[in-house]
């Protein structure tokens, strides 16, 4: 029997503010010596008090707006009480009844359908992260550098129905937070952490099965694999007439299996109540409006513009939009090109997602380090358009530009890559090629049209790639037909 998976996701996003959520300590904890980015406040020392980091609130509002959420003007922080050595105060300051963002959605692309699928976002709220425990032999070491780092929790409705959709959702989420610049979104560094609530629905009765929570999903791959594994596991149990317990499972990346972490006790034990150390946070609507106005153009809007105004295909647009800095570079080139010069958005797209991506990939460099000024890439394309150089030469020039950032004209001259477009010169070379290759010439004359490519190739060889291929072919045809 085929069951329908019903999946809801909770994603924790570490916000990349300079300081922590409630104190002035640096929020940068990755690769830092243990317990060095700490102070009395984030160590939970007696007598200390929290003060809200306004930047974190701003980042949350930005994300909420990007997720099409309603931003709540009246906000209350709450204490979530539980004991654990990585939680210095014995409670986490979070939001409970009144979160910052409510009722949004994200549209994701799926393999099954051409139209995007909508995943509803139930809420997004701001809280503080816990510290980190390292288990050594029989002991646990506590590092509180991460304790108090602002954390955004984004909760979806149970709108996800497959591992691929979950994968597409978290990928989209990462793209959004990166576009907004509110988080690195690096799952491998713990800047994004996923929890999945999954149950299987019986297609005949339509009844929802028991919800199982899967934690420790620390990479995109593990999100997909863990869900796929858990669907299979539960299907097997149910097919044999078994029942699913309400439990929390962990994901073992190495063995690629889920394992029982703990039996569910529910959130009844957290004793949430409004944080008395922080007055309610009432947001000025003008501030929310200001943040809204300042939002960058988001991927969905970019896609629409690229496929519309720029006449790119869905596929072409997708690769450019993927990363905000790539898209920005692309757009700066398009902007310099303007309308007049015959350097179309499509041509620019070919160069950016072709040669540029290839060289970035080979060199391991980042788009931010690319030294090719937009105007110079435009100039290169113009050289091709004007037949000053041919395509292979242009690639060669681009390679030099990528390394040095130098203007293309200079490189063309230095390497002597100007195309041979002088017809007399090409005719005399063509004559020599025809004389040197009597057999192919015979074949052509007998009607084997494709042989012309071989002969053009010979002209390119003799000119070391500099001949204008169209003019070379024209010269050959004229000589062969006369």
């Amino acid at each position: 029997m085929k069951y329908q998976p019903i999946i809801g996701m909770e994603v924790h996003v570490e916000l990349s503010t300079n300081s922590k959520m409630f104190c002035g300590c640096s929020a940068d904890f990755f690769g830092v010596a243990p317990n060095t980015h700490v102070c009395p406040v984030c160590l939970g020392m007696p007598g200390t008090l929290p003060v809200i980091n306004q930047k974190a609130v701003e980042y949350t509002i930005m994300t909420g707006l990007a997720l099409n959420c309603q931003i709540q003007p009246h906000n209350v922080f709450a204490r979530k009480n539980y004991f654990y050595p990585d939680l210095p105060k014995g409670y986490q300051i979070s939001q409970y009844e009144l979160p910052l963002c409510l009722n949004g959605y994200v549209d994701i692309e799926t393999e099954e359908s051409d139209t995007p699928k909508r995943i509803r976002v139930r809420r997004a709220h701001l809280e503080e992260d816990t510290g980190k425990l390292t288990h050594v032999n029989n002991h646990s070491l506590v590092d509180l550098n991460r304790a108090g780092v602002p954390l955004l929790e984004i909760v979806t409705e149970a709108d996800i129905h497959s591992a691929d959709e979950a994968y597409a959702y978290v990928t989209k989420l990462r793209q959004l937070v990166r576009y907004l610049g509110v988080s690195s979104g690096d799952m491998e560094k713990g800047a994004m952490r996923c929890e999945v609530n999954l149950s299987l629905t019986d297609p005949e009765t339509g009844e929802w099965g028991t919800k199982v929570e899967v934690k420790n999903l620390n990479s995109f791959r593990s999100v997909r694999n863990a869900i796929a594994y858990e669907i299979e596991r539960q299907t097997k149990v149910l097919s044999k007439g078994g029942t699913i317990d309400q439990v929390t499972m962990g994901w073992d990346e190495n063995r690629a299996i889920t394992f029982l972490q703990r039996t569910k006790e529910g959130d009844t034990g957290y004793r949430y109540f409004p944080e008395p150390d922080l007055p309610p946070l009432d947001l000025d609507p003008a501030w929310i409006e200001e943040i809204k106005t300042g939002l960058p153009e988001l991927p969905d809007a970019k896609m629409a513009r690229y496929t519309g105004d720029f006449e790119l295909t869905q596929k072409e647009a997708l690769v450019l939009v993927e990363d905000r800095s790539i898209a920005e570079y692309y757009e700066s080139v398009v902007a310099v090109a303007g309308d007049a010069k015959g350097v179309t958005p499509k041509l620019v797209s070919n160069w950016v997602s072709g040669e540029l991506f290839r060289l970035l990939g080979e060199s391991g460099r980042n788009i931010a380090d690319v030294e090719i000024k937009p105007a110079r890439l435009v100039a290169l394309i113009e050289l091709v358009n004007a037949n000053t150089i041919n395509q292979p030469a242009a690639k060669k020039v681009f390679g030099v530009m990528f390394k040095s950032g130098r203007p293309p004209q200079e490189i063309v001259e230095e390497l002597g890559l100007q195309q041979i477009s002088d017809e007399d010169q090409l005719v005399s070379i063509a004559r020599q090629v025809i004389a040197d290759h009597p057999d192919p010439v015979e074949q052509f004359k007998a009607g084997k049209e494709t042989v012309i490519n071989f002969l053009v190739g010979q002209i390119m060889r003799v000119t070391r790639g500099k001949a204008n291929p169209q003019l070379a072919e024209q010269a050959l045809r004229e000589l062969l037909q006369s």
């Binding site: 009395p40 160590l43 939970g44 020392m45 007696p46 007598g47 200390t48 008090l49 929290p50 003060v51 809200i52 204490r79 009480n81 004991f83 050595p85 210095p88 105060k89 014995g90 409670y91 646990s140 506590v142 959130d267 009844t268 034990g269 004793r271 949430y272 109540f273 008395p276 150390d277 922080l278 007055p279």
Partner: protein, 486 residues
């Protein structure tokens, strides 16, 4: 005359005119401590060397021409307030040996002003109590009768000031912990408006109720100390961003109490009030009228719910505030067989019975299924109580009532009956719930034990209550009477 008997403003005058030095003043106070401390037990710890060092530094500062009302003045600091580099226990075993790495905002301000810190005064464990008997360290006795309690939880501060073991002191007040011991020990105690004084560095008990305030020998000293600690603090999100007036100037304004409208909340003259207390309070109210105040009856109709609401909220907040004492980072650690057992053993050993009782009460009130009926309901009634005060202050400038319905009781008398102990707070907790300010001033004796008059003001109405208290003090001599110890 011994220097230790001076008030802050008297001492200040002598220091200013070079008649004495901070070192002499501090030595005098330390000698007094040596004389009477074994009887009174006001301090958990005394930092003699540090105090003398601070006194020398204050004298050096004065020699350069510096002057301010607290420069060189020896003070006691309640041990529930964080003092950088000096052990701070909150009266609890769980913080034994803990030396904090920073100052409370109030302590930092006093340090900046050049005050001298004598020692850390005794308190009920985590300020939870009304007799200072719940301290894990020592027993504090009432200087007026050593068989009686000094009140609490700032009993150490009140006793120290009453016994001349400090010129003034800081206390904390969550439900009456400054005013009640002030009443029991015949000193002045002021609970500021919630947010008037930074809570940063006050070891949290009930976060929405806690305030740090002064205990002093007279009203002027209380005004000086309040001026020294009040003001906005960016490290406390609940602190108020309002200018701090010169309280000493403000309280001396006006001709007697002409033009002042004084309300007497009828509900505060509760059943079971000691007759001697009632007599003293009535006489004090007559004195205010003599000074020109217009006295009218007012009503605070939700008063009867005060104690229930208070204990619901304060224990809920405390149950979370005390979760940080887990033995992982500081203070006591009692190793168990595993992590959970270590938590359990540490808290089992470190906390006393009253603290455990309150953690259990608060945890229960916040539990799922009970939250709406207890904590949420209490918050709703708290809003009503707050409104009572707002409406009353539309009619009057200040209100007066007893601070406590009785006088200091015998040591051990109520220790076994927590409910009796809770009921002592009946007239003080309302102010904390409403967030308003109040002061207790000595107003007589009942059967030989001091009685305090509570003067209540609206939010940020400190100048008004200080004025009423100061004028009252000018025409009475209760504050000049000293207990006969040592």
């Amino acid at each position: 005359m011994e220097l230790y008997t001076l008030t802050i403003h008297q001492a200040q005058e002598k220091l200013r005119y070079g008649e004495t030095t901070s070192v002499e003043l501090t030595e005098s106070v330390l000698e007094r401590i040596a004389q009477v401390e074994d009887k009174v037990g006001a301090y958990i710890s005394v930092q003699e060397d540090l105090a003398l060092q601070m006194a020398r530094f204050a004298d050096e500062r004065r020699a350069t021409g510096e002057d301010n009302p607290l420069l060189g003045i020896p003070l006691g600091i309640k041990d529930a307030i964080i003092t950088g580099g000096v052990p701070t226990t909150a009266g609890s075993r769980i913080l034994e040996g803990y030396i904090p790495p920073f100052d409370a905002a109030t302590v930092a301000r006093l340090r900046q002003a050049g005050a001298v810190f004598i020692g850390k005064t005794n308190t009920d464990e985590f300020t939870m109590g009304g007799s200072t008997e719940y301290s894990a360290y020592c027993l504090t006795r009432n200087p007026w009768d050593l068989t009686r309690v000094p009140g609490g939880s700032s009993g150490g501060s009140a006793a120290a000031v009453a016994a001349d073991e400090a010129l003034g002191a800081l206390g904390t007040d969550t439900g009456g912990s400054i005013r009640q011991p002030a009443s029991f020990c015949s000193v002045v105690g002021l609970k500021p408006t919630y947010g008037r004084v930074s809570r940063y560095g006050a070891i949290a008990h009930g976060s929405s109720l806690d305030q740090i305030g002064p205990l002093a020998k007279d009203v002027e000293d209380a005004a000086i100390l309040l001026g020294g600690i009040a003001g906005h603090d960016p490290l406390d999100a609940t602190s108020l961003n309002a200018p701090v007036p010169d309280y000493v100037v403000e309280m001396k304004r006006g001709d007697g109490l002409k033009g002042l409208k004084v309300g007497v909340p009828t509900e505060y003259f509760v059943e079971g009030m000691e007759p001697g207390v009632k007599t003293a309070i009535r006489a004090a109210i007559d004195k205010l009228a003599d000074l020109g105040a217009e006295v009218v009856d007012v009503s605070l109709p939700h008063t009867q719910y005060g104690i229930a609401v208070y204990y619901m909220i304060v224990t809920a907040e405390a149950s979370a505030n005390l979760s940080r004492y887990d033995g992982v980072r500081y203070g006591l650690r009692q190793d168990g067989v595993d992590m959970w057992d270590t938590f359990r053993q540490t808290r089992e050993t470190g906390f006393g019975p009253e603290v455990k009782r309150r953690i259990m009460l608060g945890t229960y009130a916040l539990s799922a299924g009970y939250y709406d009926a207890y904590y949420l309901k209490a918050q709703q009634v708290r809003t009503l109580l707050r409104r009572d005060f707002e409406q009353a202050f539309e009619q009057v400038d200040v209100m007066v009532a007893p601070t406590v319905p009785g006088v200091a009781f015998e040591i051990g008398e109520k220790g076994d009956d927590p409910l009796q102990m809770y009921l002592i707070d009946v007239l003080t907790v309302m102010l904390n719930l409403a967030g308003v300010c109040g002061i207790s001033v000595p107003c007589g004796f009942s059967e030989g034990m001091p009685v305090g008059l509570q003067i209540i003001g609206p939010a940020l109405g400190e100048s008004g209550i200080l004025r009423a208290a100061y004028q009252y003090e000018q025409v009475t001599a209760w504050h000049k009477q000293k207990p006969g110890i040592g």
